[in-house]
């Protein structure tokens, strides 16, 4: 029975949507950016652990990490990704509760999330430098 059901289910699935043929509305681009920042953050974990391990190993290690030229810029880039993923993630949680899940509401929520992430990234940049 389960075999029949899965065969029937497979036949009804739209498996060949070609994403390159779509015109993406703002909310869709915001959603894809959420995925991209997620992948970036996955890669960033390695850098964060490396810096954190060095900085907590000894005062000399801390000085070496804090004093490196690219450190501030890379941390800021990671924080930009964090703030976007954070706000867009909260938007997704709200969608689960049917908040802003209409076309207009989703568009507005996506713009708010992008706006909040942009402002937060700017403020974090000011704080870092």
């Amino acid at each position: 029975m389960s075999t029949d059901r899965s065969a029937k289910g497979a036949a009804h699935r739209p498996v060949n949507l070609d994403l390159t043929q779509f015109s993406f509305p703002f909310a869709a681009l915001a959603s894809i950016t959420h995925r991209i920042t997620g992948v970036i953050l996955f890669g960033a974990i390695g850098f964060l652990l490396w810096w954190f391990g060095e900085a907590t190993s000894s005062p000399e290690g801390f000085a070496a990490v804090a004093g490196s030229g690219s450190f501030k810029f890379l941390v800021w880039l990671i924080l930009c990704a964090v703030s976007y993923h954070f706000f867009a993630g909260i938007k997704h949680l709200l969608l689960d509760f049917h908040i802003a899940d209409t076309i207009e509401g989703g568009e507005l929520a996506a713009k708010i999330a992008v706006g909040l992430a942009a402002v937060t990234s700017l403020l974090l940049g000011i704080w870092i430098w």
């Binding site: 389960s2 075999t3 899965s6 498996v15 060949n16 070609d18 994403l19 995925r35 997620g38 992948v39 996955f42 974990i45 390695g46 652990l49 954190f52 391990g53 900085a55 907590t56 000894s58 005062p59 290690g61 801390f62 804090a66 924080l79 964090v82 954070f86 993630g89 909260i90 997704h92 949680l93 689960d96 704080w127």
Partner: protein, 122 residues
């Protein structure tokens, strides 16, 4: 019968819930850590060890590590099955996706052990 080799939990619904619960844990951890950095004043090796070396922060950090593993894996397999498929990759799609997923799992394993070692030796 094999129906699914990608999910983290027992089902799609389980993954859906895990993705959201771990998101909340990671959001709270992020606020806690960023909040600390914003209010700590002059940072030093001593200050970092003092803050992250406390038992409560070690437990919270460990929770964040495991939340990261589940959250990242669910996000990464979703992305893999959405984009690494025959329509874009042709006949090598399944092999490419398998390699992609294997790399993700190995990296998450390395992150986990490495992070636990760093946090629990503070």
């Amino acid at each position: 019968m094999v129906t699914n080799v990608t999910s983290f939990g027992r089902s799609g619904l389980s993954d859906f819930v895990l993705q959201r619960v771990t998101a909340v844990i990671l959001a709270l951890y992020t606020l806690c850590v960023v909040g600390y950095f914003l209010t700590a004043g002059e940072l030093s090796h001593q200050a970092l060890v003092g803050f992250f070396g406390g038992t409560a922060m070690k437990v919270f950090s460990t929770m964040a590590i495991f939340a990261t593993v589940a959250h990242a894996w669910i996000g990464l397999w979703t992305i893999g099955t959405d984009y690494i498929r025959p329509h874009y990759f042709g006949g090598v799609a399944t092999t490419a996706r398998f390699i992609y997923q294997a790399v993700c799992i190995v990296m998450l394993f390395i992150y986990t052990v490495w992070a636990l070692q760093i946090f629990w030796s503070l």
